[in-house]
Symmetry: C2
Subunit: 201 residues, 2 copies
DNA sequence: AGGCCCATGTAATCTGTTACATGATTCC
DNA sequence: GGAATCATGTAACAGATTACATGGGCCT
């Protein structure tokens, strides 16, 4: 049950609507947690009922009204308690890893295509995070911001997201290079010896 | 439903028991997926019933008998299908990120303690992965292994795990340094001006 | 006219976690 | 004598995903 705390943390520096949170927690942005809109609306309802956040209706013209939520004192206390509790190590769960684990037994072309697609996604996120960081620090340098900028939390988590996506790009590129080289080698080998379909494994 | 495919991928290069899989998928090793033992035993049962894997009883003396599983033709076909399907981008979910997101509003000392603990875990995993890689490649250099070593899948996923954990160490160290510097600054500031409890935010 | 953005949810299903259960062997 | 390792599960509950639902405004 950590979505709870992720929501509280996201509401700390400014009040937000469910929709805004949904944007922030969706893939493409998610720099510190991921969740679907439905999950968020449900969690917001529970949090409000428990008095950890409070919402206020904002009437809008030209578009549906929305509810903006703020963390209450009780909410902050809950976050404090959560922070003090032992963190469970993060769990890795990525489809692409499973596919690569099977490399050599499944079609190499398909794998290369998937890795290439991922490179695109990851690069887009790298750019997004870089833009986000620039926006947060404004005209200051990174060092200056880290020394006394605010809010510092989102900046730090964004830095982690950036490094993570850069790691993705590097690894995917490496994997593509390795798989291509091995495929070319296998093809050359089967051409020279046995022209019959000698599957590369 | 990707645990299914993760299990298939893990059984590809050699037959394993539920217990062995549980070890491999547990934190501390998990280089490409994470799951609890109970989940694995349940999934193995389902996979066997579906004919995607087949198990054989191995009678042991001095310890309980075990069942070793292998991927069937149908299982490999399923993996192939999975590989060709679009991968959903990986979801980030890490308690520690949530805590850091709240930096500045929750106790800094607690945060630093948590980050320091994580550094320890991550360093242990770095060493573990390095050992695993060395074992896999034997007396070959990394380049040699990547050119024609086998199995290549586990080696590549392990490389990703290694890079990920190194990224964790670097980021945690950075975050600790930043938070320490800011805390010291705040303390100095409140000592010189207002000795009254002027919370750093 | 069709599709996307804003804005919020409900219901059913699937996945994952926690707690419980058993029992022999080996190591300290 | 107690803890850890090997080995396999069941049952109850919590958490997450998928499908469905609504409705006005804006852009092309």
């Amino acid at each position: 049950m950590t979505l709870r705390h992720a929501v509280l943390a996201a509401l700390l520096d400014e009040e937000r609507s469910g929709y805004q949170l949904a944007k922030a927690f969706d893939l493409g942005v998610a720099n510190f947690w991921y969740a679907k809109p439905q999950q968020l609306y449900a969690e917001l309802a529970r949090l409000e009922q428990g008095g950890l956040i409070s919402g206020r209706e904002v009437v809008q013209t030209g578009r549906p009204n929305k509810r903006l939520f703020t963390v209450t004192g009780a909410g902050l206390a809950e976050l404090e308690k959560f922070t003090a509790a032992a963190a469970k190590p993060s769990v890795l769960r990525d489809d692409l890893m499973v596919k690569v684990q099977a490399a050599g037994r499944v079609d190499t072309g398909t794998l290369i295509a998937q890795l290439t697609e991922r490179i695109g996604f990851a690069e887009a996120k790298v750019e997004l995070f870089e833009r986000l960081l620039r926006t947060m620090r404004g005209d200051r340098t990174e060092e200056e911001f880290l020394r006394d900028g605010s809010p510092i939390g989102p900046y730090l988590t964004c830095l982690r997201g950036l490094a993570f996506e850069r790691g993705n790009v590097e690894w995917c590129e490496r994997a593509v290079a390795v798989l291509r080289a091995r495929r070319d080698q296998d093809e050359a080998a089967s051409r020279s010896s046995l022209p019959e379909g000698d599957d590369h494994r």
